[in-house]
Amino acid sequence: MRHGFDLRRFVNREANLVQLLGLTAAIFVLMALLNEKFLRAYNFESITYIAPELGLLSVAMMLAMLTGGIDLSVIGIANLSGILAGLFFHSMGAPRGAALTGMPFGMVAAGVLIAVGTGLLAGIINGALIARVKITPILATIGTGQVYVGLALVLTGGPAIVGFPDWWDAIGNGKLFGVALPLVLFVVILAVVALVLTRTPLGVNLFLIGSNAKAATFAGIRMGRAIFLSYVATGLLASVAGILLSGRTNAAKSDYGTSYLLQAVLIAVLGGTNPAGGRATVLGVAIALVALMFLSSGFQLMRFSNFLVDFIWGAFLLVVIAINALRNRAR
C-alpha cells in the first residue's frame, strides 16, 4: 500500500479475509487449549509438508470455480501423474535398490517433466471438452476423472507403486533454507497464480466471465480461450500436487487422496470463492488452507477417526455455505 497501512480501510475492503483470519486464530487457540501437543514445533513442521499438496488442489478448484465450473478430475490427474513418473523410474532404473534410489538428477528431472506433462495433457483434454465441445464442467470432469483414475488402475493393476528415487523424495521431504521444500514450491506457485489472476488480461477476463458470461461475450472477450487455459492450469496444479504427494509418501496409487476432493472444495469455498463464479482470492484460499490444517492436525492429535473427520468436513462445508448465504442476504 502506497500511503502506509490503513487498518480500517483494509478491514472494510477485505471483510471476508478479516473474518477468515479471525476464524483461523480461533481454531488455533481452541486446538492449543484442547491438546498440549498442538503447540509443539514438530506439529507445525509436519503441516508445512502436508498442506502444500492439498493447497495446490484447492487453488486448482478455485480456478475452475472462478468461471462457475468445477474440476472433479484433479485427484485422478494427481495420482496418474505420480504413477506415470513412478513407472518411468521403475523401467529406467529398477523397481527397488540402489539403481532406483540413486537415480541421477537428470533422470528425475525427466520424471518431473513426465508428471507435469501428464497434468498438461489432462488439462488440455478437460479444457477442450469444456471450452470447445461445450460439455458442462461437472460432467466433463466426472467423465475424464473416471478415465484418469481408470488408466491409473490399468497401469498399476490396483496396488501402489512403491519406491521412488531419492531426488524425487527430496521434492516432498526436503528443505530449502530451513523451510520445507513443498511449502517453498507452493508459495511460489501461489504467487504466480495470484499475479496472473490480478495483473494479466487473462486473469481479469476469467473474473469477468465468472461474474457475467453474457456481458463478457458482448465485451468481445474470447471466452473459450480463457476457460480452456484455466483448465490447463488446473491440470498442471493437480500434477504438481501429485508430485508432492508421491514424493512425500514415496508411493503412488490410483486411489490416494480421494478425501482431498471434498477438502479442496471446502477450502476453496471457505476461502471466499463463489462456486457460481466471479469471486475468488488466492490469499483467501491460502488462509482457509491454514485454518483447515490446524483443525485437521488438532483432530489427529485427539485421535479422531478419519470417518469422524469426514463428517466434520461435510458439516463444516454446509455451515460455511449457510453463513455465506446469510451474510450476503444481510447486505
Partner: protein
C-alpha cells in the same frame, strides 16, 4: 408417430445403439445370449436403475445429486441395526423405514439447495460426506454378514418370477425384484408426465424464473425432487443388501458416478428440462451391460472405469451438440 419423428427421439437412438452393442458383444462371445447371462444382466439393472429414477428427476429440475449412495447406506444400516436390536420379523416396515430415512435426508439437500440457494453439486457433496462420515464415525463400520442378516429380507429378495434348472444342474432364475424396479419406473413416469408436480419439475428445469411467474410452487418442487431421490435411495439401499445378503456400510461408494453416467446416457440434460424414464432405463441397461460384458469380451475389469468414463464423455458430447443444434 411418423418414422422421422420417431428417429429424432433420443430414446430411439439409445435403443439402436444398445441393439448394436448387444449384437457386437454377442459376436465376440455368443455366451452373452445365454439365458443365465441375460437374467443376471437384468438383475444388475435393478439397484442402479431405481437410483437413476431419482437422479433423473433431480436432473430434470436442473439440479444434481451425488449424495444418494451415502443416504442409501445410512438408511439401510440404521434400519438393519434397528431390526437386529428388536428382532423385528416383517418386511414392509423396514422398507418403509429406510425409505423415510432417505426422504428425511433428501429434505436436508432440498433445504440447502432452496433456502440457502447453493449450487446442488456443492450441497450434495457436503451432505454426502457428512452422512457417510456420521454413519461410519458414530453408528458403525462392521459388515453385517449372511448369518446375521434378517432371514425374511433374504427370503423376500430371493423370490423368482420364473426359474428352472439347466442340463448341467445349475439353477437359473429371473428375480422378482425386477417388478419393483418396473413399478417405480411406472410411478415416476406417471408423476413426471401426467401430474401437476411433474409439469412443475420440467418447468423449473426449463426456466426457473418463468416457472415461478406462471405460479409453480418452486420450494415445493425442490423438496419434491430431492426427497424423491432420497426416498428411492433409502429403499434401494435396503433392497441392495437384501439381494446380496451382506450389509457393508462402506458399500456403493463412487456409485453416484455410474448412476449419473447412466442418466446422462439416457438423454437427460444436466441443464434441466429434458429427460425421460424410458431413456434413463435404456441408459442404465447400456451402462450395466457394458460393465458386465467386459469379462465376457475378455477385457480386464481394470478397464471398467476407463470405459465408463469414455461413455460419459461421448454421451455428454453428443447431448451438448444436440442441445446446441436445437438452440440454434
Amino acid at each position: 408417430m411418423k418414422a422421422a419423428a420417431l428417429l429424432r427421439r433420443s430414446e430411439t437412438v439409445i435403443f439402436l445403439v444398445l441393439l448394436l452393442a448387444m449384437v457386437g458383444i454377442g459376436l465376440v462371445n455368443p455366451a452373452f445370449w445365454q439365458l443365465g447371462n441375460i437374467f443376471s444382466l437384468l438383475r444388475a439393472n435393478i439397484i442402479t436403475g431405481i437410483m437413476a429414477l431419482g437422479v433423473l428427476t433431480v436432473m430434470i429440475s436442473g439440479g444434481i445429486d451425488v449424495s444418494f449412495p451415502a443416504f442409501a447406506m445410512a438408511a439401510m444400516y440404521i434400519t438393519l441395526l434397528w431390526m437386529l436390536n428388536v428382532g423385528y420379523t416383517g418386511v414392509a416396515l423396514p422398507f418403509l423405514m429406510a425409505t423415510l430415512i432417505g426422504l428425511a435426508l433428501g429434505a436436508l439437500n432440498a433445504f440447502f439447495v432452496h433456502s440457502i440457494r447453493m449450487i446442488p453439486l456443492i450441497v450434495t457433496l457436503g451432505t454426502g460426506a457428512m452422512v457417510r462420515g456420521f454413519l461410519l464415525g458414530f453408528i458403525g463400520t462392521s459388515t453385517i454378514n449372511i448369518d446375521k442378516m434378517p432371514r425374511q429380507l433374504i427370503d423376500f429378495a430371493k423370490q423368482d418370477l420364473t426359474s428352472f434348472t439347466t442340463e448341467d444342474g445349475s439353477h437359473i432364475g429371473l428375480t422378482a425384484m425386477l417388478l419393483i424396479y418396473l413399478g417405480f419406473a411406472l410411478v415416476v413416469h406417471v408423476l413426471l408426465r401426467h401430474t401437476m408436480i411433474g409439469r412443475a419439475v420440467f418447468a423449473m428445469g426449463g426456466d426457473k424464473e418463468a416457472a415461478r411467474r406462471v405460479g409453480f410452487n418452486i420450494p415445493l418442487t425442490t423438496f419434491f425432487v430431492y426427497c424423491l431421490a432420497g426416498a428411492l435411495a433409502g429403499f434401494t439401499g435396503l433392497l441392495h443388501v437384501s439381494m446380496i445378503w451382506l450389509a457393508n456400510p462402506h458399500d456403493l461408494a463412487g456409485m453416484e458416478l455410474d448412476v449419473i453416467a447412466a442418466v446422462v446416457l439416457g438423454g437427460a440434460s444436466i441443464f434441466g428440462g429434458r429427460g425421460s424414464v424410458l431413456g434413463t432405463m435404456l441408459g442404465v441397461f447400456m451402462l450395466v451391460m457394458v460393465n458386465n460384458s467386459l469379462i465376457i469380451m475378455h477385457v480386464s475389469t481394470t478397464w471398467q472405469r476407463v470405459v465408463v468414463g469414455v461413455i460419459v464423455i461421448a454421451a455428454t458430447a453428443i447431448t451438448s451438440w444436440r442441445d446446441r443444434k436445437r438452440a440454434a
